[in-house]
Symmetry: D2
Subunit: 349 residues, 4 copies
């Protein structure tokens, strides 16, 4: 940490700051300069609240140097984390394609789509039973009934399930039925929910908030990990900008940035990230090309009848093409599709 | 609602769209044009999910015309709502100044600050007992102990209390101790919490999310109202932009925009909105000048020792000046400070 | 300036950085720490290009401390600059209201509007003869004919003229006819134009770019001043954000931020800043309340026939009300309307 | 175009709007509805200025339907444009990699880098002789001397040259020396410069402005084309957002969006788009994966000594790896590197 004093700061002001720093158990290193004095601070192992120092007389600015997170950082764990989701590896050498409808609407709908996902080579199934909707008058999901449908889909197609929890009550249910608990973008800073997810015994898929900085995103993952759950998967899903040709602006540069700072896997959701069906395939290719560990794709066999987010869902046939192209891009990076969970029938052999 | 067909759409595609519209119980009005056909849609009283129509063959775009909210709108209630917070009117002809520390730290701290607020003419007291913090390692608030301190402050200084709830559990406690339940920016789209607040028997102060559009903001208020709690106060607290001279960019134009669309009161929080102490006074004046019903101000008698957000807190003396200037600006708009809750001593007379 | 070394940087890497710093004629102050070494740098009077240092082996980050501008800063000139525009003081104790149409359309139109401006108490007249338009097919202004109209308006109503230059050619003409050269938001980083304006003999009104940071804004003013023209007036006109209830988001907090860093006057343009007529009056009040030195207002007597930007123009009667309210707000801050240029008739007395 | 009337609009107000529309030579189609009347408008072949209509009594909103551009659109030219830059095809089946330093610093520097570019398989050379710099005190480029160096590099290595023009004067010089005139992001709405580029006889590389919408970007290209120069190449280089882990946020979704609307080629500049050397390779792969026609890469053999933008330049060896990976990604999409201009030595054979 560095404290920059104002140009005209008096020696006694500098001394006072030095004493305050030492009172916090840190070491202060004044650097006299031509125009102004700066004070280097060392000895802080964790995060020091710099706010208080900024207010002292004569202080112009406090500049933080150390990262404010611990468990999510590469310094805590240099090698990549591989998270097992119902038997499928996320974050290893393999690349995953998660597919499914925005919302679980019926058993028939989910079975039809899941069959397409499995055939195409998607390794995980997604579908919302609890939907956070902007309007109270929009379809809010089937709730526990939806979770039961998802469980039946997993049984039949051997696809591990990723589904969203939106509060304590739904989190308990999701943790019971699903293989991976999704925390949505709107809840990325719902810290109570993050802590609860940190006490659950299932992996957590954490989506980046619509206006979250990289540091805030990692700190939200730190919330989950600091409660003891180290199985966290990150997911970029677009941020909010002035650009109006897509619903959100997918920030793919965050993928290499995360890979550099953190050992956690990072997926990309081009369906929510663009909100437009015709952008999903190209942005999926780009996501794998930039180094993401997989993509989340909304798939619907009748998107014009979907109860939510129809315009961004692709057809099962397009999903099959997407898996093929994603796989070919992965090969360029020396990766391949992560192995699927083996079908029970196969396992018997 | 208007459906715009693609330039080369065939007549049977237009017919199909018309039939689908009618299937939804609406009326379709095709408008043949030189380049393309448009289809006007009428008869929708509430919000129709336009997504499905957008996917039909030959459709280029669906343009929504009707507002998606009902209860928050001026059409539901043309006159301004006045919300009573512990006996103080918010949203009437008067202007309120809410003051207090970011976080309740101790009884002494809260008493000292509350005394300054009351003397200066502030009508409501704010202070966090439950703090949503970006880092899990930052001070998270005193919890119920903080609420007890707030209750004692109310007793002693007759200042109604506004304090934040961050989950179901804290909401129940806040509703029990405080006069107004604050929902913070990070929880603006925590829809479960909004619904719970809608079932509480206390007014709700809803802060705008960091990247919320006006429509999303109003729809979040609609969540609370749709559960039966009509006592909602809105609060602008800055949005996230590229600008780096303040922590957030305070969007004052949202005040007249809300006044036009909604009957709900709107306050402004220049402390969080700027994150810089020296911007609080000028932005408070501007907030009242633009037509806000009041301001929320962080006050601390020793900001350099504050456990959170010290750099944006102002001193009690500066708060007194702020109340005076805000009052003078209000007078230009034909308004004045809202009456304070009468001190018990005075009430006896 | 501070150089932060990586956690595992070797002593010889630190030494190499120190030598490079000294090679630049600066002093290096290594600060050994528990986790990493930092190197304080002093002795840089102007702006050092930090980029090169950032690339040295073992360097994690370079943190700049000194402001990169000189002439615009308060350190160069502690007291406020007062700029004379055709005899009207901008930036002194008085507040100015600049009014006029978006585009000069005809002598009749300009005379009618100017009469309203003058009667209402506006001190300066604005109107575009050269219009930068997003589409090549939109009305691009009357050119020199428009400047002649503006000159006649000045003669008749004794209103000094502010009008925009968009390239070298129009700049020469504007400098010849007008009292103040406006550089528009789209040209804020047209550095060739800024330098030309710096060699002109008329004051320059520089509008903030749509996505300019405060530092970039001040550096653009520095471009003008570094060529010898010290008469620069800044103007906030809204920045581009995700918010869609106004055309731009007016960033009023930039006003006190500029007042702190720079001695230059700062105006606000709520017409372009909101793009909506019904927001102009409240945002004008807020602009003066926050401390701006004046406002720029689009006025048109027949906005429904305006050739550009009609929806944000207000009627002359509304302008008169605006001047009254702005004046009342200014009084709260101990200011008043700046004196008008005296009418020639009056001067004779 | 659609005009939405207010809920309580009177019949005579509707009639008046209809007459105004007809006065503009268009057809009006009133659509009576349960809550409000809408008026469909047809017959507008080009862009109608909707502003005026928005101001009529009783009008709530005017919704535009037709695209405001003509020449850049797919409707004007369904097939992709292929632009020849000094004998290299941009926008055809091939993919181009443009490499070179941010600024031309010396003949030696340019030769060394160009040699690396040519060997690695880069088809075009870039380097700035005129640099638009945020600060007037930063290195502004070598000017015509730099252009002469570029011309010699072209001769020696047979690499066509792309270089930036920043005003009329430099444009004339660039058009004389170079093979392609670059218009930078800061000048994307310098309409005078766009018009001049439209009268030049060389292809134009137009970079997207830092806060430009897709429509504004296309309209700027329309400016160039409307003057007769149809050889326009677009370039995404990142937009400005709140995200702080990269210098700008590279908006790759704009590539498929442009491909859908326009026939013009689109390149991506991941060097400026991220501002960080370690993001350039992954974002280059992603750019080609999403469908871009090529990438612009800053290369420097001694980035720590570069006179501008060192931190984003990569080494010639890394450039060679980039060309290989980009080529492999292109193959997945059925594309390959565009043929290089043949060396003179080879041509002789």
């Amino acid at each position: 940490m560095l404290i920059v004093m104002e140009a005209g700061a008096r020696p006694d002001e500098v001394d006072f700051v030095v004493r305050q720093v030492e009172r916090l158990g840190l070491k202060a290193h004044p650097i006299p300069g031509a125009q102004r004095v700066a004070i280097g601070i060392t000895g802080n192992k964790g995060a020091v609240d710099a706010d208080a120092l900024e207010l002292l007389q004569g202080v112009k600015e406090v500049i933080r140097v150390t990262a404010p997170y611990k468990l999510v950082g590469r310094e805590a764990r240099p090698e990549d984390s591989v998270i097992k989701v119902g038997g499928v590896d996320v974050g290893g050498p393999g690349v995953v394609v998660v597919g499914g409808p925005c919302a679980v609407e019926s058993l028939d709908q989910s079975r039809t789509i899941a069959e397409g996902i499995r055939k195409a080579g998607g390794q995980l199934f997604r579908g919302g039973a609890f939907k956070p909707r902007t309007s109270p008058y929009s379809f809010q999901g089937l709730g526990e009934e939806g979770l039961e449908i998802l469980a039946r889909v997993r049984e039949e197609f051997d696809l591990p399930i990723v589904t969203e929890a939106i509060d304590q009550e739904s989190l308990d249910l999701v943790a019971q039925y699903a293989d991976c608990i999704q925390i949505g973008a709107r809840n990325m800073q719902n810290f109570s929910l993050l802590k609860s997810a940190g006490r659950a015994r299932k992996p957590v898929l954490l989506k980046r908030g619509m206006s979250a900085t990289l540091e805030e995103f990692l700190l939200s993952a730190e919330y989950v990990m600091s409660e003891g759950n180290f199985d966290v998967i990150l997911c970029e899903r677009g941020v909010r900008t002035f650009a109006d040709h897509t619903r959100n602006t997918l920030d793919l540069s965050v993928v290499p940035a995360i890979k550099r700072l953190s050992h956690l896997p990072i997926l990309v959701d081009p369906s929510h990230g663009t909100g437009k069906r015709n952008k999903v395939l190209p942005m999926s290719r780009a996501s794998i090309a930039v180094g993401a560990d997989g993509v989340l794709i909304e798939v619907h066999h009748k998107p014009e009848e979907a109860l939510s987010d129809g315009p961004q869902a692709i057809l099962p046939d397009d999903f099959a093409r997407l898996v093929r192209e994603v796989s070919a891009i992965a090969a360029v990076l020396g990766r391949s599709l992560a192995p699927m969970r083996r079908m029970k029938g196969e396992q018997k052999e």
